[in-house]
Subunit: 407 residues, 2 copies
């Protein structure tokens, strides 16, 4: 897997662009994005499990069910959630507008929104801007950047990646962008991830590949435990790399899926690092379990604990909170078999062995936990499986950002 | 139910006391408490569900299984959790020391600890202080206060109550104290609640009464979502009120249980209000559900959401976060039937009707949400059940307190 530049425009045949249409009234920032493929793409998507789903989610689920897409149109500044029938009509209208611009079928367009919940989407300003949105399309990194900016909300950093792999001797590219500086944003909605690839891959293989990658990346991210109404991950594959079509049970499929997982994990880590108010990326790895699922459940419980997160902020080697969070994870646990270490670029320190305290230098622990990327390593000594979960620390700024987001 | 003074010493025949024995090395505060009944009591307890259980929890569970207690001995400053076999021996020794002081059986003593996890309990200092602990016992409010002070950790306010009810013409008293300014305290352990009553009540009735009251009070408290290694609620009933013994299926049982629920809810609200760093008591009530359980699950999801809690801190009428938290609660929900209001001493304001936004005055909403006690009222219009859950806001001080607790 070789990292390259270009984002979602790195794969052949994709264009991207973004403009300011005026949904974010009080801001000069871009708020409308478009990603487009000349060729009809095989497509797959993963959507929020929240019972309260944005209109954009419902429309995109409907459209992606056919397995093919040509474009994604996305806005920030308004979530188009809890907006009733008018919201559904607005989401459909967004798809129609993008489809008309390219004379394609509206069912070939995915729609995404992120922003305030419960406020009607001003579809008029989108309608007035669709021509300039189309005109903003470019096949290079600038197009990618403009689209990415247009979906960002409280995100501080740009979160994107592109990679090149080789499949059957042909160079194949995957490009991606993500917004979301929390597992969810409040009224702001959430995580939106758009992935493009020029791989030729069958729809069912693409779907299972995306699900596997998402399971091991975005679904292992926790910033504040909330799952938004607007979460979505969409992948489009236009086949322009010219590789032999990938089916679900092949060596090529494994190569492609590993690369897609690499892309998704990279973006997940970037999101955790950019969590609201976060000063640190916290990776929690639980090893020595009977199965990956148990490791994931335990790691999530630790990474989600407000007390653990606050301790990470304070660089406090508080392993008692780690054990405590494992104890209420809802799975069987033998506390007297748990080992805990803290690790970072500054080194590694064992703090708990077989469920009990180890003597350790508080000073050294503080140095290790003061790094920007820290890892909590846990081994429960009952098997050979493991899983990592990504999160961040809990800080004053998280409270500040969320204490009065709407104003 | 009439509120009276005296705390755990309000019921006849109970003594309480507390001293400083030196477990909290760096503090001049009391750290060792004792509650004692002249008569052997029927007793019941509810303990943490965390798989990692403090030694004191294990020993108290063992002792209370016999349904009878004479005393509770409790320390703060050390959780005696993750302390292995030595921890178990120390907890047993604590029971033995209290038992020897009164020449009773050690199985008649419950043991409780709260404080740092993973540090050996300095049983020697308890041993040296047992005589002065016994000497500190009093049958009045001063004894109660000393015991309560000795179990407090980051608690800012004293949380206690006593009530008088009439059963079969006889005055019956219930007194209680609680420590815990979070559903859990970190390394500090947790919630400890000790309840005394002079009611004459059969062990099985006492047990079911306590479970019912706890289910509707302490189990509906959420401060930070963590469940400690040391949580315990213990009730002792010595029968000195002279009422006809209460069995589980009687009018008297209902009166007693209502009063016990009143006591527990009162303490629960006080704990939420005293949540770490909290500036507000937040009550979330979900009504119009098919059953109480569903109402509780939904209300807990809302009260636990970091985003909702931060919005309460900022007095932000952010109903979108309320709907979002209900949507991921894991139960069926029709968003288009959800109504939401905010209420406090300053009035009530409807903000969401049938899942959609209502026009409302932001200024008035801010005034309502700026009170010290606020309520989020939700109706999902599908049935006639309801439940309330108590929590608090998420503040800078929560992060501060937990960012570096051990130092």
């Amino acid at each position: 897997v070789k990292e390259i530049s270009g984002g979602v425009c790195a794969p052949k045949g994709f264009l991207a662009g973004g403009i300011r249409c005026g949904i974010k009234e009080s801001s000069r920032k871009r708020d409308l994005a478009l990603i487009y493929s000349h060729k009809l793409c095989n497509a797959a998507g993963v959507f929020t499990t929240n019972k309260v789903k944005a209109a954009s989610v419902l429309v995109s689920q409907e459209n992606i069910a056919k397995g093919q897409l040509r474009a994604i149109i996305a806005n920030s500044g308004n979530a188009n959630a809890c907006t009733g029938q008018a919201g559904m009509e607005a989401a459909r209208r967004m798809a129609q507008l993008a489809a008309d611009a390219f004379s394609v079928n509206p069912s070939e367009v995915a729609v995404a929104s992120t922003g305030v919940i419960g406020v009607p989407l001003p579809i008029g300003v989108i309608e007035n801007s669709i021509d300039s949105l189309k005109a903003s399309l470019r096949d290079d990194e600038q197009g990618h950047d403009a689209a990415l900016e247009a979906i960002m909300t409280t995100d501080i950093r740009k979160k994107d990646i592109a990679v090149e792999i080789t499949i059957g001797g042909k160079p194949v590219h995957i490009g991606a962008m993500v917004k979301g500086s929390g597992m969810i944003h409040p009224n702001m909605a959430t995580m939106l991830a758009f992935v493009t690839t020029d791989a030729d891959i069958l729809p069912s293989a693409l779907d299972s590949s995306l699900r596997r990658a998402v399971k091991r990346s975005f679904n292992r991210l926790t910033v504040d435990g909330d799952t938004s109404t607007n979460d979505m991950v969409v992948i489009m594959a236009n086949g322009e790399a010219g590789n032999t079509p990938i089916n679900g049970d092949s060596y090529d499929y494994e190569i492609f899926t590993s690369a897609l997982e690499y892309v998704c994990v990279n973006l997940t880590r970037k999101m955790a690092r950019d969590g609201e108010g976060a000063t640190k990326l916290v990776t929690v790895t639980v090893a020595g379990t009977c199965c990956e699922e148990k490791a994931e459940v335990l790691a999530k419980s630790v990474a989600s604990s407000s007390l653990v997160k606050a301790a990470c902020f304070g660089a406090d080697a508080n392993w008692g909170r780690v054990l405590c969070a494992m104890g209420y994870a809802g799975v069987e646990l033998e506390p007297e078999k748990v080992n805990v270490s803290f690790s970072s670029a500054a080194g590694e320190i064992e703090v708990c062995k077989n469920g009990g305290s180890l003597p350790f230098s508080e000073e050294r622990a503080k140095a290790i936990l003061s790094q920007e990327e820290i890892e909590i390593l846990i081994n429960i000594q009952e098997g050979n499986s493991k899983a990592s979960v990504w999160g961040c620390d809990l800080t004053y700024d998280y409270v500040k950002i969320n204490g009065d987001y709407r104003s």
